[in-house]
């Protein structure tokens, strides 16, 4: 397989999580991973981000395929079912909305800033050292929330990479599901089914 420059985009994942470990405000950069695939899907009608430029996908490829950490088993049928994929997308969007609500509550002064990262939407991990420069509390709250979401999904991706195919995360990745829905909606004329 020929090597392309975008195969090295996994470095961005490492940089992102490292920066967020020392200063949580860098977590805002995660919005690139949220907005770029949507922009490409809406205006370009393609999943070029998933196909090539996703740092998460490249990280899982590097760890699973290149480093050989993946056991390469088939993903369970239920995990690739539309029910699970769409269900996970709805759950993920709900958690994103909840994170925005938490940001609003801090902005409105109803609650105070929580200097912790929440893993798997339930486990609070102290992270106060990563907030050395004080900014508007809501901006910091959003950063903690987004970093939590990014770290949780990365851990999920790595776990499924270890057991199943390297890029198993791509099967139920909410951004991938969402961009595929957009692309399919933009392509009403169907490609002829492959015939053998």
């Amino acid at each position: 397989m020929s090597k392309h420059w975008y195969h090295y985009l996994w470095i961005w994942s490492v940089i992102y999580f490292a920066l967020g470990f020392f200063n949580i405000l860098f977590a805002w950069l995660g919005m690139i991973s949220f907005c770029l695939p949507l922009v490409i899907a809406i205006f370009g009608g393609s999943k070029a981000f998933c196909n090539r430029y996703c740092d998460r996908g490249q990280l899982l490829r590097a760890l699973g395929s290149q480093a050989g950490l993946s056991r390469r088993r088939d993903i369970p049928v239920w995990m690739r079912s539309k029910f699970f994929r769409y269900g996970f997308l709805i759950f993920f969007l709900a958690m994103f909305a909840q994170m925005l609500y938490a940001t609003y509550l801090v902005y409105a002064g109803v609650t105070t800033l929580g200097e912790f990262v929440t893993l798997f939407w339930s486990v609070r991990v102290p992270w106060e050292w990563a907030y050395p420069v004080k900014v508007a509390p809501w901006a910091a709250q959003f950063a903690f929330g987004l970093y939590s979401l990014m770290l949780t999904s990365a851990i999920l991706g790595i776990i499924t990479m270890l057991f199943f195919k390297p890029r198993s995360w791509c099967v139920y990745c909410p951004m991938g599901t969402m961009t595929q829905l957009i692309c399919r909606a933009k392509s009403p004329d169907t490609y002829p089914e492959q015939k053998i």
Binding site: M1, A41, G45, S46, K47, A48, C50, N51, R52, G57, R61, S65, R72, D74, I75, R80, R85, F164, K165, P166, R167, S168, W169, C170, V171, G176, T177, T179, Q180, I182, C183, R184, K186, S187, Y191, E193, Q194, K195, I196
Partner: protein
């Protein structure tokens, strides 16, 4: 006439997640993702090596004999 391989990759397009892993590993550039919807195989280029099927995270690619149309598929075609 160009001699074609006896086997080739077949994508279950309704279950494909269009991640592009197959496209990435194909040594012949025979796989592409059509409009972000699903993977498609260029039957003239595919040699049925199975790299794509091995990499597909959703396990929706099969390597099938090239001339294996069932009677029902033949009818649809």
């Amino acid at each position: 006439m160009k001699k074609l391989s006896p086997r080739l990759a077949f994508v279950n397009q309704s279950e494909c997640v269009a991640c592009g892993s197959c496209m990435d590993v194909c040594p012949r550039g025979a796989v592409s993702v059509w409009r972000g919807s699903f993977a498609v195989v260029d039957e003239g280029l595919c040699v049925g090596c199975g790299q794509c099927a091995k990499e597909c995270p959703a396990s929706v690619i099969e390597i099938r004999p090239r001339l294996s149309r069932t009677a029902a598929e033949e009818k649809i075609a």
